[in-house]
Amino acid sequence: MIVELGHYALIMALATSLIQSVLPLAGARIRDNGLMAVAAPAAITSFLLILLAFIALTVSYVTSDFSVQNVWENSHSLKPLIYKFSGVWGNHEGSMLLWILILVFFSALVAMFGSNLPASLKANVLAVQAWITSAFLFFVLLTSNPFNRLNPAPLEGRDLNPILQDIGLAIHPPLLYLGYVGFSICFSFAVAALIDGRIDAAWARWVRPWTLAAWTTLTAGIAMGSYWAYYELGWGGWWFWDPVENASFMPWLAGTALLHSALVMEKREALKIWTILLAIMTFSLSLLGTFLVRSGVLTSVHAFATDPLRGIFILCILIVFIGGAFTLFALRAQTLSPGGLFAPVSKEGALVLNNLFLTTAMATVLIGTLYPLVLEAVTGAKISVGPPFFNLTFGPVMIPLLLAVPFGPLLAWKRGDIWAVTQRLYLAAGVSLLVALAVTYFATGAPVLAGIGIGIGVWLIMGSLTDIALRAGIGNASPSVMWRRLIGLPRSAFGGALAHFGLGISVVGIVAVTAFSTELVANVAPGGKIQSGPFTLEFKGLKPNSGPNYSELQGAFSVSRDGENIAEIVSAKRVYTARRMPTTEAGIMTTGPNQLYVALGDETPGGGTVVRVWWKPWVTFIWFGAIIMSVGGVVSLFDRRLRIGAPARRKAGAAIAEPTT
């Protein structure tokens, strides 16, 4: 019965969302406070209803209720419990339900904590959220209903795609969705501001923490996804410029730009219109990402099962929301009052530069992702746009941006002194240059670009350290004063510095692994030896093994360095019983920041086995840096000033209510 109650709750949530989309908006228009007040309880109720639906689906998964088609298609009674939970969103229908759950959760947060927002802004924001909710509820109920039933129920499920049976799957999509959907709040605020024709000072204060939270989870989600693909696909790569990866990367780029422009807007009330545009763009890209992943118009190494009807439905949602928002923007943008002035060389100027480069980079990724689609639709020619395209376009756009990053935080608002800032960065520049030269000199055979790339990474790291040191007043204050200042620094200062520091770490990892990793494919017989990096691997042979729902052939390698045995790596070729699906389990050994990565191939007629071995120096820095960036986001989020948000209503200006009696 819980299944049907969940289904009913989902439909009920649609009804509630429809009311929430219309009444508050009408209320704000005709200034009726009763109608506007419907928004908050409706948002909270929708959240509770969809939570109930989600719980119902989860219960079905945990109890292996195969009368629910979705459970039958994606679960198996023998599946470990954790994958029964994660299986709920390991498929199209369930993941869309999770998407909506997160969406209404955010609406409910605005409803509960938005008492310090002007009444009409709050009503409009919640109404816009409800439009999105309604559209996606229609989508789920009509094309991807997770509550379709089977009667009679099959006895055993078809199991979850084994590649998805991984702890990475349990965490990756929810994080990614928190990011994607978090930007919906920014979108709703932007559209609400356009409807109202004014941007309150409280606007930026609300939008910035939301952007920050969404950006933080998106960063973590992308990093997780990248690491997951790295060890689960067994291809040794961590980023493929695959359409699905681009789909999450584009909102990240736009979101990063939004994060920085919202900062200008909050502090200086400048760039208002641009920020609104970015907020719309970021969520539009999230929607586009959802469309690309769900519709199957693009093939990808990560795609879920796809269905053309769903694609058309999401495309319609996409056109209505993106088209509608941009039309509204075109109509109303000029009614918004322009913001403060600033000189080109100033913190604002630096942030504009940041925005310019980020959006340009985003545009190159967008072109690379959509060009094959457009070309095929127009000329019928089928092409693939791969890493060479992105390396040639995205790379050159990013390099000047990365070079400029350390200047930004040091420049003053409104009018900055670029030479003074340059002087302060002498040390950072010197260290980076030395490192770059050292890398070029010592790493013989490595491309010159490697030295430059690592130099840029070090430049970012040193730049962020310089920023914090200068804020603490290094050089012109006693250690105790410096310490006091350091403690007194706003958390957002640390957050920003951490994010830039993490970016530097990631850059170092990316450059190092691109320039210095070695790959070797060999056909080895048991007892055969392979040399990779500083290590020698001895193949110990294959042996069969079986797990709860798979059987596998394990290939063991003993790793030695300078004749000393230091570790054992086991890589496996696994076959999952229920789907007869083979996968490769890479064997990975981590030493410091480096990794030795072994993937097993086929057996050859001569009794040998094809083995692929990568030596990947500094590779973990890529994800480690992304984690530091996320931590920076979290630290910033806990900044006292952001937590305060807009302050509570002042008594004198509070609403005056007069009883009718």
Binding site: N161, I163, L233, G234, G296, L298, T299, V301, A305, T306, L341, F342, A343, P344, G349, V352, L353, L356, F357, T360, A361, A363, T364, I367, Y371, P372, A381, K382, I383, S384, V385, G386, P388, F389, L392, T393, P396, V397, P400, V521, A522, N523, K573, R579, R580, M581, P582, T583, T584, A599, G601, D602, T604, P605, V610, V611, R612
Partner: protein
């Protein structure tokens, strides 16, 4: 600087960045994209040797043979034409005879063998690379069911 000059500086800087990016994109789209062909296209259109292309089709039955070390030879077919492929490396888990694959590489001048450096077969047992599926549908040999793809 006057207000107007400030604005012009910002706009000018922006335009130049975007201009450079546009040039890069145009250049990359000229040179760095890879066309997809079916074996029939290859035979009919005479692909210039040395051009990187993607070739998609089904792995022909009984065509896979292992050579020295990691060398593998097989053939990709769209049932009309067949192209011989040489590849050194690990084949994807789902590489099987009769399975749809995409290989990327080029023809060596003066030879009819396609030298591939990448072989893709997707991680889903029902998977058929989209380009391959489209081509096979055109040829009328597609037997996958639409609903469960």
């Amino acid at each position: 600087m006057t207000r107007k000059q400030k604005r012009l500086t910002i706009i000018g800087g922006g335009m130049s960045v975007i201009g450079v990016a546009v040039l890069l994109v145009l250049f990359a789209l000229q040179d760095q994209i890879v066309y997809f062909h079916s074996p029939s296209d290859v035979v009919e259109k005479q692909v210039v040797p040395g051009t990187r292309i993607r070739l998609g089709g089904l792995v022909a039955e009984n065509s896979v043979s292992r050579g020295q070390g990691t060398q593998v030879e097989f053939a990709v077919t769209d049932t009309d034409h067949t192209v011989a492929i040489a590849y050194a490396g690990i084949l994807p888990d789902l590489f099987r005879e009769g399975q749809g694959v995409i290989v990327e590489g080029s023809f060596v001048p003066g030879n009819t063998v396609f030298v591939a450096d990448t072989v893709l077969a997707k991680h889903d047992e029902n998977y058929m690379p989209k380009e391959v599926a489209d081509t096979l549908k055109e040829k009328g040999v597609w037997q996958g069911s639409e609903a469960t793809q």
